[in-house]
């Protein structure tokens, strides 16, 4: 072993030391071909961290009470000592902004640099979801634009009006993303320039759509739009929209009959930001796993090269172990699967499969067993999201290590049933089950816009396709209320099970149901 020449020891840090560590980490990361955006590392205080945390990590956010609520919750938890503040926060932007808290020890700062500035950063730059759906270069500018625009709206239309609109949009923001179509990249400058133009244009478009409404709706709905009024059958078209729409907010922005142009713009802003966060919601395990794998690898390299001393590496191991700890399901600390633990275990095992494949691995992963590990890991990082990553790479060994098991919860059955455990018969089912568990399409109810009655009472109908008879939670009513505010006319929601409507929700509620809800 080389003689130890640690860059620094003890737990105090200064900028010079941080810079030297950063240089070393950058050199090692380069060896591992971690391709990153430039790093912008910001040293901040605890309180600033709470601020950043409360605004979901957006460096500039518009004002809304829900961020205040978040801030109060964070502050309360922190004061009570329930929560060590997240010691890192990193923003998917170019340059990539990472926060270091001034109270962190030297070890923590080095760890965070390895974790955030090289782990997360390279993930943001490399993963296909981020490459496709977000535009790191312009996000900060766009946030600035959004903030300014909303502040302007508040001045012009009052804080309450804007707040209510945002409430409604936030309720639907998970349904404000295009899942399959690549959005055009956002650019603040462009937005600002085009915004005026667009608002006029949008309004005109909406007006055209709605101007086709005939005087009075006929009894049988729109199928029989009076022949006398419309001898050419111009209005006898089919359903609008012709295809179900998954992006609720987009549909509202373009089609809601009564929204003012500025309101449409606000809907658009919320939608754009939801779109920006969409990949993050789908790559939690991978993203954290990747970053954790690299901070672990890089820290160990620093130690091997004698650049950190024993004290620091022990402190690191202590902290690393806490991060990747997975309490069992019956522990009082259990709160779901720890994405750090799962992700780290999977990437580590992936490397093992490449380097020391066993007979089992050759059976399960014939293509990657014994291949170049770095190449394989990079490939995995670039081309998957949580769902497909687990589907592809969850190995029997990880299942055994974490002792994963699958429970079937059927409301028609009085008892729960253990459907699979970590044995030969169970591996594949557990893998499928876990992948499904991370599929956004399963985690969130599948709700789409089915039709807007543009020729009748202007009501909007949504369809919820039930998955395994799982109903909607009661929160459906307040969300429908918000949707109703945006749409301006009655809103209906139909739950479908195997092609049949099993439950209907309305807003505004019919009189007799009003009390019930």
């Amino acid at each position: 072993m080389t003689e130890r020449k640690p860059i620094a020891s003890g737990s105090d840090w200064n900028f010079e030391v941080l810079e030297r560590f950063e240089t070393e980490i950058a050199r090692l990361a380069d060896e591992y071909r971690l391709d990153t955006y430039p790093n912008q590392i910001e040293i901040i205080t605890t309180e600033q961290m709470m601020d950043a945390y409360a605004s979901v990590g957006m460096p500039v956010g518009y004002h809304h009470w829900s961020f205040g609520k978040q801030f109060l919750a964070v502050e309360q938890a922190y004061r009570r000592g329930q929560m060590g503040l997240a010691y890192e926060l990193v923003i998917n932007s170019d340059p990539c902004i990472a926060y270091l808290m001034e109270e962190n020890t030297l070890m923590m700062q080095v760890l965070v640099m390895a974790h955030a500035c090289y782990g997360h950063n390279s993930f943001f730059k490399g993963n296909y979801l981020f490459r496709t759906w977000t535009d790191a270069g312009s996000i900060v500018d766009y946030l600035l634009f959004a903030r300014r625009y909303l502040a302007e709206c508040e001045e012009r239309h009052g804080v309450t009006a804007v707040e209510q609109l945002l409430d409604a949009c936030h309720a639907l923001q998970n349904y404000g993303v295009d899942r399959y179509k690549r959005p055009s990249p956002i650019s603040a400058e462009e937005e600002a320039r085009r915004q005026k133009e667009r608002s006029d244009y949008l309004q005109a478009q909406v007006n055209t759509l709605w101007s086709t409404i005939p005087g009075r709706p006929t009894e049988n709905g729109h199928e029989e739009v009076g022949d006398e009024d419309d001898p050419l059958g111009l209005h006898a078209g089919g359903r609008y929209p012709p295809e179900p729409q998954e992006n609720l907010l987009y549909f509202i922005e373009k089609n809601a009959p009564l929204l003012a142009p500025w309101q449409r713009e606000v809907v658009r802003i919320v939608r754009k930001l939801a779109q920006y966060f969409y990949p993050q919601r789908q790559t939690q395990v991978m993203n954290e796993g990747w970053a954790t794998f690299w901070h672990y690898t890089l820290m160990n390299r620093l130690y091997d090269e004698g650049l950190v001393d024993e004290g620091l590496i022990l402190e690191f191991l202590h902290s690393h172990t806490a991060v990747v700890q997975q309490p069992p399901f019956d522990s009082p600390h259990y709160s779901g699967i720890n994405p750090y633990a799962l992700g780290f275990a999977m990437f580590t095992d992936l490397r093992r499969i490449c380097e020391q494949p066993t007979e089992e691995d050759r059976r399960w992963f014939p293509e990657i067993a014994g291949s170049d590990w770095l190449e394989t890991l990079h490939f995995a990082m670039r081309n998957f999201k949580d769902e497909s990553f687990i589907q592809q790479y969850l190995s029997p060994k990880v299942i055994r290590d974490l002792k994963l098991f699958m429970v079937l919860d059927d409301d028609r059955d009085e008892m729960l049933e253990v459907a699979a455990i970590h044995d030969d018969r169970g591996y594949q089912r557990i893998r499928d089950g876990l992948a499904t568990q991370y599929a956004l399409s399963v985690r969130e109810p599948n709700i789409q816009i089915y039709s807007a009655d543009i020729r009748g009472d202007r009501s909007l109908t949504l369809r919820h396709v039930q998955d395994s008879r799982r109903p909607l939670a009661r929160s459906v009513y307040p969300v429908m209320r918000h949707l109703h505010q945006l749409w301006g006319f009655p809103v209906k929601l139909e739950s479908m099970e195997e092609g049949e409507i099993v439950r209907r929700y309305h807003w505004p509620l019919p009189e007799d149901e009003q009390k019930e809800a």
Binding site: I41, I43, H63, Q76, P328, F329, D411, I421, S468
Partner: protein, 427 residues
């Protein structure tokens, strides 16, 4: 490529606006909590923030979610004893097992109450929300004792600490332009003349003239240089003048009966009332002084400790205290300079004959000089002569005199609010 940026010196309260929005939105909830807290708290305790809880369901941000029911499979870690096909009892309550939404529900549904802490200022804001000091005319002063320095333009002389750099530099710049202009012009002329002279045919040159011009140029250049960059003449100072101010000082007299009939419980109630009033005044005036006057048959000015905690016995003569207050005002707090408030607490006992004197004292001597007089009677019993006499005073000074009855500690805050609620219609 990496940059380090030290942001620690940046603004801290980035979330202040959002926090305020949140508080505004849940004003009614928070107010309820605050009111409970005020009634519950011990008196010395008003000076800190308060933990407030709001039912989570009231502040949830709804989204479409799966409800309970249907069929689903859950993957969980840490299997120790199960084998495939085992059947388990459903864990009670239904929660707990939802690993799919585990991280999301951490802050949301897990807790029934959303708790957070109000800062002291926020707390007091809520305590006094919607309250207003009656008769809040600031004293306009005849003898302008109280002054405040305000900015009033710029002067040529002053102390170095008040130098206005921008102004001074601008003056200097202007002076330099003004002083150098003519010299520059003369210099330019001399240089041109010299050039003309030098371009002439050597025979025609005038050596004396050239020498003269050169000397002139040299002299002018020197003069140009000697124009000072900044001169004492240029200096400008921020000017402050003293402006008379309406008084921002208030004095609050706490008057309390400490005769035998007043128990410690009575005093505690009174103390809370005084404290509320004090905090309230403190928010409206820059400076609030307290004067404690206690009385049984005789009145005495005491310090706070003695006021609240020492016991006396004997009968009660309220007018003694009023007389003392009157004397103190005359001696130390000229009404032209002070806003005077009197808060009196008693159980209503008084010597029968004395109540009349009290009324006379109040109506004729005190009330004309006071901003406000509040009287709280802490008694569950029927009113006595004092109350009746005071009612007459109230009729005479409806805007500045207020009285209420308090039966138990819980009444204080409502009574206080009642006494000071914002009166928009009147006035």
């Amino acid at each position: 490529m990496t940059y380090f940026i030290d942001r620690r010196a940046n603004a801290r309260h980035k979330s202040a606006v959002n926090r305020q929005r949140f508080l505004d939105r849940y004003r009614t909830h928070i107010k309820r909590s605050v009111e409970e807290a005020v009634n519950r708290r011990s008196i010395t305790d008003m000076e800190r923030g308060e933990k407030v809880s709001i039912p989570t369901r009231d502040i949830s941000e709804p989204v479409f979610q799966h409800g309970p029911g249907g069929k689903r499979s859950i993957i969980a870690p840490g299997n120790k004893e199960f084998v495939e096909g085992d059947r388990l009892r459903r864990p009670g309550g239904g929660g707990g097992g939802g690993s799919g939404e585990g991280s999301a529900s951490n802050q949301g549904e897990g807790m029934d109450e959303f708790a957070f802490t109000l800062s002291r200022e926020e707390f007091l804001d809520f305590v006094f929300d919607g309250l207003e000091l009656p008769h809040l005319e600031r004293k306009n002063l005849v003898d302008l004792d109280e002054v405040r320095p305000v900015r009033a333009g710029f002067t040529r002389d002053g102390v170095p600490a008040r130098i206005n750099i921008v102004r001074s530099m601008r003056e200097a710049h202007a002076r330099r332009i003004a002083m150098r202009g003519p010299i520059r012009r003369a210099l330019r002329e001399a240089q041109e003349a010299l050039e003309v002279e030098e371009r002439k045919d050597p025979v025609l040159r005038h050596p004396a003239r050239i020498a003269e011009l050169k000397a002139e140029i040299e002299r002018l250049e020197k003069r140009l240089e000697s124009v000072p960059f900044i001169d004492t003449y240029d200096l400008r100072y921020n000017n402050l003048v003293n402006q008379p101010q309406p008084s921002s000082k208030a004095v609050m007299f706490c008057v309390m009966d400490v005769s035998g009939s007043m128990t410690q419980a009575h005093k505690d109630i009174a103390k809370r009332f005084f404290l509320l009033l004090y905090l309230f005044l403190e928010r409206n005036y820059e400076k609030v002084e307290l004067v404690f006057v206690r009385h049984h048959t005789a009145a005495k000015e005491v310090d706070e400790e003695e006021f609240f905690y020492s016991r006396e016995t004997g009968g009660t003569i309220v007018s003694s205290a009023l007389t003392l207050v009157d004397e103190i005002i005359t001696d130390r707090y000229p009404p032209t300079q002070w806003n005077l408030y009197v808060a009196q607490a008693s159980d209503g006992d008084n010597w029968d004959d004395d109540s009349l004197i009290c009324r006379d004292q109040l109506a004729n001597r005190l009330m004309p000089r006071l901003q406000y007089f509040t009287y709280v009677e802490i008694t569950p019993h029927a009113h006595q002569a004092l109350w009746e006499e005071y009612e007459k005073v109230e009729a005479e000074y409806p805007e500045r005199f207020a009285m209420r009855q308090i039966v138990e500690a819980g009444d204080i805050y409502p009574v206080f609010r009642d006494l000071f609620r914002r009166r928009t219609v009147q006035s």
